[in-house]
Symmetry: none
Subunit: 217 residues, 2 copies
DNA sequence: TTCAGTTGTTAACATTTAGTAAACATAAAA
DNA sequence: TTTTATGTTTACTAAATGTTAACAACTGAA
């Protein structure tokens, strides 16, 4: 969170760059903020660097680059053409948190779950994502525990070795490691107490690929 | 459940942040709540921290972050409503990502790491947090794998069973399960190939408690 | 290359603003 | 009653800001 002055300076910086294409000199900032000394500017700039809101090159004139807006959104010079579908500009996204997968229900059936979870975009995959609360211990040896939150990319194509959410026979949903061998698909648990099952191609629908995982203690 | 005043304060905090982008000073809160003294504010803020409704940075001006709404819902500024108000993004905090712990270096020694990571506030503990890249496999049976990102609350007191970052003999830093027995402290790995070591009270300094964990595939 | 002007960096100090703490009083809740 | 939440005052510490001045690094022209 920025202080008042830091916020003012950052706003001016962004405006100046968008207007003129160059970052302002300390003098110019002084004038704009009604100060008499560059020195204070230096300190405020320092503060903004520490807080990760700007990047600057040392000992270089006019070399301050904004990294975030005062409100914390990632700064991007790329102007999304006015009609921006992609909120490319936000650090976090709210995605639906589906409950624990109840056996016997395809994902779609529980998409009603109206709980959401806040996730940094860096956690997400490229496609549409949803979150899932892990039920059971079948993937324990892969470091996936009961009640972990799994973030699933529903549009990604699985490759061998990926951990996927699979719908079996339009009935059961489970989290397993995916391995395709010719036409048949193996779903491997990561728990010595569970067996690998192999299915014909028509019996499995992959509902998404595990992208990231989050656990709260 | 919050008290009246706590609830009022939290509401004002949220409103102020959404309006102006910065959290209010204690003085400003006083005015808003019709009080004559900052001191009471301080106490109420403490209460909100204890109840885990906000996060604050100690001794920093204007650095209170809401974590939940008064009703207990996770705080999120992202409005998925149609009205595309510019969403703020203050529900994340940038915390330092320390490199892998090199054996032989206390945490402080690597705090120079100038990488930062954006984390949703709800992932954080109550105290000052930092992130750590896990090195090694000593906690593998607790589902903590190589290269996972661990988020550590550096101010929380460990209780038995917590997973902590421990500094041994001012030299080695490791992630282990903490167990105190009388005066001595046991650091238990979660890997059958490693042994539990027991130390005298003066040999161990706990550098923080594991709060949450994140893994990217 | 040298030199002068511009701009950024640092230290020192003063001032204001902001957060922390203890002590005491009061009122409401358990 | 005992506990908890609250209101207030006072005092203190720390952070943020404003200012001056000397100096270092960079730039472009002579």
């Amino acid at each position: 969170m920025l202080t008042i002055k830091q916020s003012q300076l950052l706003n001016y910086l962004i405006k100046k760059i968008e207007d003129s294409g160059t970052s302002p000199s300390y003098e110019e900032i002084c004038i704009h903020l009604n100060l008499k000394s560059k020195s204070g500017i230096h300190r405020i700039v320092q503060g903004l660097v520490e807080r990760d809101y700007i990047i600057k090159l040392n000992n270089k004139a006019r070399s301050i680059y904004p990294k975030k807006y005062p409100n914390g959104k990632i700064y991007s010079t790329l102007k999304q053409d006015q009609d921006n579908e992609e909120p490319n500009n936000i650090n976090t996204l709210s995605i639906p948190l589906l409950g624990k997968i109840a056996a016997g229900l395809p994902i779609e059936a529980i998409e009603t779950a109206n709980e959401n979870i806040e996730v940094p975009i860096s956690f997400l995959g490229k496609g549409k994502c949803y979150a899932l609360k892990v039920d059971g211990d079948s993937m324990i040896e892969a470091g996936i525990l009961q009640d972990d939150i799994a973030i699933i990319d529903s549009e990604r194509q699985p490759t061998n070795g990926d951990i996927v959410v699979a719908l079996i026979d339009e009935e059961d949903v489970t989290l397993k490691r995916f391995r395709k061998n010719g036409e048949s698909i193996a779903l491997e648990p990561a728990n010595i107490n569970y067996k690998t099952y192999i299915y014909g191609p028509n019996r499995i629908k992959v509902q998404g690929v595990l992208t990231s995982l989050y656990r709260h203690y």
